[in-house]
């Protein structure tokens, strides 16, 4: 469970406003307006919204890549303006690119050294991350030849390399096939179990729904809804009942009772699996 009492929140965004100045004669663009959010230590927070809603700008402000026009952001109590605040953060940008001339392993060694890692520890950790993200075979291959999915996994590996307490993932499954996407989802679940805080944006709402404790929905630079996922998606006046091996007679009986008590029968039918699950079941190789 998130421990919010003993340590400062993993992320705070207070009244963040970001205005991008335009050229002469053009109107300035307000990307984020008076945004406030808090991500508690140990929780998985999903930030969702349509393209151009201000999610990426918010993430960049949290990482100190952009300076806020108004308001402030912190990471574990330290202002994002301070470079030190990034010591505990791993960031995976949307569609990450790395130096094409480096191999997979060299890339991780480069990022590890930037995080003050060195020697045997760094070598071991880099190889461990390559194994974790399924890139062991690509350790000595130039990044220039990596597929989009492999780049995404390498991005994840560099984000996790220095064992950060906060992981920020911007569209982590963009361009990744369903199996890779599921793997990333499993990794996020693993972070949650290890008490690592995750701030994630994704267009795949089903995935957000599966992994997030809390969700914020942004539109036009504002936070339009925020709260615990269970609370947000529950339909107050509807109840779901899932039965296995129920005969048509039993269903008719239940329906009659419900309607006799004044409830409205909305729908009944077979439960459906998701297309993702069907894809994975169909394409997964049988274990020998």
């Amino acid at each position: 469970m998130p421990d919010s009492t003993s340590s400062p929140p993993a992320v705070t965004v207070e009244n963040l406003t970001k205005v991008f100045k335009s050229g002469l004669g053009k109107q300035a663009f307000v990307a984020v307006r008076d945004l406030t959010l808090t991500v508690q230590t140990g929780e998985v927070y999903g930030l969702i919204g349509p393209n151009g809603s201000g999610k990426s700008t918010t993430m960049k402000a949290i990482l100190g890549l952009l300076s806020p026009t108004m308001g402030k952001t912190t990471i574990f109590g330290k202002s994002s303006i301070e470079v030190e605040s990034r010591s505990d953060v791993g960031f995976l940008p949307e569609n990450p690119y790395f130096y094409k001339h480096l191999s997979g392993l060299e890339t991780l060694l480069f990022y590890g050294r930037l995080c003050s890692m060195s020697g045997r520890d760094l070598q071991d950790k880099a190889r461990e991350m390559l194994a974790l993200t399924g890139l062991e075979d690509a350790a000595d291959r130039r990044v220039g030849g990596f597929s989009k999915g492999m780049l995404q996994r390498l991005g994840l590996a560099q984000a996790l390399l220095h064992e950060p307490r906060l992981i920020i993932l911007d569209e982590p499954t963009a361009g990744v096939d369903p199996a890779g996407s599921r793997k990333i989802r499993d990794l996020i679940m693993g972070f949650k179990e290890s008490g690592i805080t995750v701030l994630v944006t994704s267009h795949l709402l089903e995935q957000i729904q599966e992994v997030c404790d809390r969700v914020g929905i942004m539109a036009h630079g504002r936070m339009v809804r925020e709260g615990r996922l269970d609370d947000l998606i529950a339909v107050e006046n509807e109840t779901e009942l899932i039965l296995a091996d129920a005969s048509p007679e039993l269903l008719a009986e239940i329906r009659a009772i419900a309607e006799s008590k004044g409830a409205k029968w909305i729908r009944s039918g077979h439960s459906r699996t998701t297309l993702e699950r069907l894809f994975l079941e169909s394409t997964e190789e049988p274990k020998s």
Binding site: F20, K60, L63, G64, L65, L66, S67, V83, E84, R86, S87, V89, F91, P93, N95, P96, Y97, F98, Y99, H101, L102, F110, Y111, R113, L114, C115, S116, M117, S118, G155, Q158, H162, I168
Partner: protein, 295 residues
């Protein structure tokens, strides 16, 4: 991991990555072209007199060294920052605990290391060819003197002194140092321009333009600052010109080196001081521009 606000290790990591990047872009292929040019210049035109032969070799070699250093200083520096921004590699680097000034410093040191290493290698090749040519010229001249029957000890000493002056001396290396210092200033200038430029092409064109103007500062001063001009105005004008463009004329000692004239310690000191001043100044402005840059 404990964070330090200044880490030479991080700067070295960035510099080493920059060197690797440029080396793997096959930029050093220029070295091979240089060696071919030097060897060709060294053994071409054997009918010229000894002085002309050695001068031509130095002239061609220093020309190639200058082209290598200026082109690498402008093009490679102009490529680095905009490319990192376009590829979004900058996001992953600066989202690590890396201060922006360390990033800039690492990039510049990487380019300077590459230029420095390239110049050292070319200096070695150039010196070897020059020494060979000098020995050959000396042997031929002595043989000619003997054939003409005028090989007196005085004539031989004079020939030795003359060829020694036009041949391989420490002056040659001072000339290479001047080229390196000039390239350092141009690289720092390109880095500063790339901090606000919108594209690599813009950086290359503007850097090249400023470099050309920088070479002609003396001429500009002569042309625009007439004799009757107020002294204060002259000083202000010169200062403004020196701020807008670096005075690259300070590093132009190559003609003296080619003519066998010694570069004084004072001139070398002025070159090092001027380069240090411009590189520090450009780095400071680069930092001020880059720290405010919205990524």
């Amino acid at each position: 991991m404990k964070y330090h606000s200044f880490s030479p290790a991080r700067i070295w990591t960035l510099a080493a990555a920059t060197v690797t990047q440029l080396v793997r872009m096959k930029i050093m292929a220029f070295l091979v072209v240089f060696c071919v040019i030097v060897v060709a210049a060294g053994f071409a035109f054997p009918v010229m007199n000894p002085e002309q032969q050695l001068k031509l070799l130095k002239d061609v070699s220093f020309g190639a060294l200058q082209i290598f250093s200026v082109v690498i200083a402008i093009v490679s520096t102009a490529l680095l920052l905009p490319r990192d921004l376009e590829d979004r590699t900058l996001y992953t680097i600066l989202s690590k605990p890396v201060p922006r000034y360390e990033y800039l410093l690492g990039k510049l040191i990487g380019v300077l290391l590459l230029i420095g290493a390239g110049l050292v290698l070319m200096d070695i090749a150039f010196s070897a060819v020059l020494w060979l040519r000098q020995s050959l010229v000396l042997a031929q001249s002595i043989a000619a003197l003997k054939q003409e029957g005028v090989a007196t000890p005085e004539a031989l000493a004079q020939l030795n002194e003359f060829v020694g002056k036009q041949g391989l001396t420490w002056n040659i290396h001072l000339g290479v140092l001047a080229i390196f210092l000039k390239a350092s200033v141009i690289a720092a200038l390109s880095l500063m321009i790339s901090c606000f430029a919108s594209s690599t092409l813009f950086t290359v064109v503007i850097s090249l333009l400023v470099t050309i103007i920088g070479h002609g500062q003396g001429l500009i001063r002569e042309y625009f600052f007439s004799e009757g001009m107020n002294q204060i105005m002259k000083k202000l004008g010169s200062a403004l010109l020196a701020i807008i463009t670096p005075d690259l004329g300070v590093f132009d000692v190559l003609d003296n080196v080619i003519n066998g004239e010694l570069v004084s310690a004072f001139s070398a000191g002025v070159m090092v001081g001027t380069a240090a001043m411009y590189v520090t100044g450009y780095l400071l402005v680069s930092h001020l521009l880059f720290v405010e840059k919205e990524l």
